[in-house]
Symmetry: C2
């Protein structure tokens, strides 16, 4: 299956699972805000779960709750990152952010409940034996908490008030937490679901995650805000160190390409079956949003 088709299929399956998870919930603003925050997006993380699962012979129906979980977790992080006390963004995926459309209290609560929803989804018996599900809970907690995504976010905040811009090793560590950890979890999830060695997918995703962030920094400089659906050129305005400021635009593009080659090489054990994941890696550095 080609990557665009697989990505679209993943997006539809994930949305249906998320809709089902929130069906029957009380019709309060916080639930409306959760639904709103769960719309749209590329669903790259959900795709990585479903595609890595397929590589291990796990059908979409037996993996979609994990794909929905990582998208709920990702959505929570965006809602909270956009808050006035954090990045203070008013546009996300081309729409007003949750605290703009509702208010800050609703955004805090909706983000909180989206994180909870992620763990609830991982408990879904459709994902297989309890051992598999609790392993996914443990690894998602590790990837998203104070040693993973929140660590990256906290390093980012600390960097804003630092006297000197971050160095390349520092920014690499920041991004490994902020975006890398969830991307890695997504790609490894398929191996966990298939009770197989997650080594190759882990190496693939580590390279992919870094390429993704470098591409994000390039997009922040070269991108079209209308296509990206969010405010751009923020980093330069804020005087923040990025892969582009540290490596130069061409240097950053070369590094991203080298990482994609690295990601492809990691999937060699899977042979031709990994074609869609390889296409995904190429897409990540060519995307416009």
């Amino acid at each position: 299956m080609s990557f665009p088709v697989a990505l679209n299929d993943a997006a539809l399956a994930v949305q249906a699972r998320l809709d089902a998870a929130l069906a029957g919930h009380d019709d309060l603003p916080v639930v409306a805000a959760m639904r709103y925050a769960l719309q749209g997006g590329k669903r790259l993380r959900g795709f990585l779960v479903l595609e890595s699962a397929r590589l291990h012979g796990v059908a979409p129906a037996a993996a979609v709750s994990a794909a929905a979980a990582i998208e709920a977790l990702h959505a929570y992080s965006l809602v909270h990152d956009d808050l006035p006390c954090m990045d203070d963004d008013d546009l996300r995926r081309g729409l007003p952010t949750v605290h703009v459309k509702w208010d800050e209290a609703t955004a805090v609560l909706a983000g909180d409940a989206l994180q909870t929803l992620a763990f609830e989804l991982l408990a879904d018996p459709a994902l297989g034996p309890a051992e598999v599900r609790i392993a996914l809970v443990a690894s998602l907690a590790k990837a998203s908490g104070a040693e993973g995504m929140v660590l990256g976010q906290a390093l980012d905040i600390a960097a804003e008030s630092a006297a000197v811009p971050l160095t390349l090793p520092e920014i690499t560590r920041l991004q490994a937490g902020k975006t890398g950890a969830l991307i890695r979890w997504s790609a490894e999830a398929g191996a966990v679901l298939g009770q197989a060695d997650a080594g190759p997918l882990g190496r693939y995703a580590t390279a992919l995650g870094l390429a993704f962030q470098i591409a994000d920094d390039i997009l922040d400089v070269e991108g079209d805000a209308a296509k990206a659906g969010k405010r751009l050129q923020k980093d330069a305005e804020a005087g923040k160190a990025t892969f582009v400021s540290l490596l130069g635009l061409e240097g950053a593009k070369d590094r991203a390409k080298a990482l994609v080659t690295e990601a492809e090489a990691a999937l060699a054990p899977y042979g031709a079956a990994a074609g869609t994941l390889i296409e995904a890696a190429r897409f990540v550095i060519a995307r416009e949003s």
Copy 2:
């Protein structure tokens, strides 16, 4: 064991487990804020886990991660509830709240990571078979998300801007979510850990949770802010409906006493072994903080 001794033992065991969970973490403000938010408190929820576990022959070492999990979850909810956009409180457990001591961004992130920590703790293999641990994850997610604690919090926020004060059934539903769901999870956890019927403990905790909230409303009117370690008389100032405004002070006291009797009756199947939990229920309506 008498209740005060059991509560103190539980507090020490829970604190040690939480300290261990955060040992080795990066020394960032967000981690310092997590440690800070995890200090103090009565540890009533953690006690309920350990004591209900003991009732089912589960040793403290095989239950303490669940007790620490519920205290981490509770701490997250307090940090976020205290935010300026929520209840805007500057004092908690006698100390400045997290956003006052650090800043709002740190409080949002520390709360987020404390929720994650709760689920990470439930994955601890010391809690027993994977089936038991994933059941605890599923039930905690249900109790704390948009059908539980967050629902209660959202109803509370909606009530603030409502034209008419809440009725007794409405406020009962609000509190069943806001405080009741986590108290119930705590008491039921011991039966889940012991792979036993959680029915009696569920009935005990439902009555206990409501008594707890009524006692809180009474404390808000009659309490000593220095002993409570937080601002009091907030509800009356805000013109909010409470069990005291709806039932009168004496009516609220009578209802709390009746609920404690109900809680005791629910534990009849356990006989004398439930003595400490019965003492706990009596304490809940007699406490000063």
